[in-house]
């Protein structure tokens, strides 16, 4: 699924005469079957942008187009993965996965067959009759991903899905996510605040900064997959992006204390123009 965000802005009313610009002037286009990470500190509007694309919230101005059509509300075509998993606690793993299939009015046999297939793909057969409460965090997120994917969406929107998991598990799920993305031929937009996670997963990283939420730079990651976190180019890219985020966050108080090697602004502009990275 191909996504086009044009001049999108989102303003929240925060009581009194105060309005908060969560997002302003967002232009972004995402190719079909691309893996894009939205990266930035909290408050930069990355989750809001994801929710606009998902149709869970409406933009205050501007447009969001999916395959050329404006987004007006949520759709099973655009699967959404929540940070808190959002599994229905009163349904078993199997029933959770079948929820969307039932909504689509699949026949009983077909929905059962599809659910079994996806449980197998995510190693959930043993847990089929357990309730979410009885699962670990990693298992819960697997159920949530299987529940979204079994509807065969063209786009998967993921809101910090692994943020609550420990490091080992996070690495496992990241690798699994890359395999899923390659197998399912799906476009993925993945929100994270973890630079390493973004570099490991993404084709392109959209670096965002807060107050108001804007896109600071779009950084392509041209490392071959599977990626190694210890690869020197990986490490360099990580340093570059961190500098971009770090200097932005100091920017307000210490106007441009930029030193020797790289001016963040120049670097960022360079990136958005040429879409290559000086490695």
């Amino acid at each position: 699924m191909h996504i086009e965000v044009r001049e999108a802005a989102k303003t929240y009313y925060s009581g009194g005469k105060k309005w908060i610009d969560a997002l302003s002037g967002i232009d972004l286009s995402i190719r079909d079957r691309e893996f894009v990470c939205l990266l930035g500190p909290s408050g930069c509007g990355k989750s809001t942008l994801l929710r606009l694309i998902g149709g869970i919230e409406a933009a205050s101005s501007g447009t969001v187009l999916c395959d050329g059509k404006p987004v007006v509300g949520p759709s099973p075509q655009r699967g959404f993965i929540f940070q808190d998993y959002a599994l229905f606690p009163w349904l078993t793993v199997r029933q959770n996965i079948r929820f969307g299939l039932q909504m689509r009015k699949e026949t009983k046999n077909k929905s059962r067959a599809i659910a079994e297939q996806y449980m197998q793909l995510f190693g959930l057969e043993e847990a089929a009759s357990l309730y979410p409460k009885q699962l670990s965090g990693g298992m819960r997120q697997r159920v949530a991903i299987a529940r979204a994917l079994c509807l065969q969406p063209r786009l998967l929107l993921m809101d910090e899905p692994f943020a609550a998991l420990d490091a080992m598990l996070r690495h496992n799920l990241q690798e699994e996510m890359v395999r899923v993305w390659q197998r399912e031929k799906v476009t993925v937009v993945f929100v994270t605040h973890d630079v390493e996670e973004a570099i490991f997963l993404a084709d392109r990283i959209v670096v965002m900064t807060p107050r108001p939420g804007t896109i600071r730079a779009v950084v392509p990651v041209e490392l071959p997959r599977p990626r190694s976190r210890t690869d020197s180019r990986f490490v360099e890219l990580r340093a570059g992006i961190l500098r971009l985020l770090y200097e932005e966050s100091r920017g307000d108080k210490h106007p441009m204390h930029l030193s020797e090697s790289m001016n963040a602004d120049a670097w960022a502009n360079n990136q958005s123009d040429k879409m290559t990275i000086p490695i």
């Binding site: 869970i56 759709s75 229905f88 009163w90 689509r104």
Partner: protein, 288 residues
Amino acid sequence: MDAEQRILSGKEAARGGIGAGIGREREQVRSAGGAWRSAAGVAFVRIVSLLACLFLWHILVILNVNWPLQFGNLPHPAAILSAWFTNLQTASYYNDILVSSYRVFSGIALGFIAAVPLGMWIGLTRVGRNTLFPNLELLRPIPLIAYLPVAMLLFRTIEGSIVFITFIGAFFPILISSRDAATRVSPSLIQAARVLGCGPLRAIWRVYLPAAAPEIFTGVSVGIGASWMGVITGEMMSGQTGIGYATWQAYHLLDYPQSIIGMFTIGALGFGSSALIRLAERALLRWR
């Protein structure tokens, strides 16, 4: 307290919070004696304390203690027990229990059917919140017994007016708990359902109701208590049957043991209904 102990307890306090508290409590229980260590020991202690209470009662009556309260007027525990054994062989005792239970059950069932949808409606829509809710909020603080005159006017039969009172008792707690539960359903669950293709009407059945069920159960158990209060009041004031009527009638007939039996029977029925609700909750909400 020697130095080492002081350091230890300091450490425990430093660990802080609930854990430290439990640790200390456990220490105390253990030092209180061996009886607490086994389930049988605990049961023994409980039975002994119950018997001690009965014995105290027995003494107060026998010695005709009239200060600070007129304990001497109370019937003897043994007299009550023997009257109760006679009751157990009398049909009217069971009949009273059945009649009152039936009234409570009807009130709960009707209250549930009315209060859950209305509570959800009030919780989820602006129309409900601003039209129905203000009216109900004016009625809610009225004690059950004050509904009795209106109940008598509204219903042709005494039976109807008593069931109405039990209905009112069940209605408000269930209404409030349904309303609160509906507003507290996690937004991400609602959004997840929408993303998975669940429309707003279907979401009521598939998301709101199951998510609200635990809180609604709490409302039902509070409602059952109020219903029992209502049925006893109604029967005492206007009934011709039921355990409340029997209790009050026995007092007028100077049959004090029967009054006391009525009291404890009402207590047992209330306890039994709460236990039933808990069982139902455990069976229906296994996912919790």
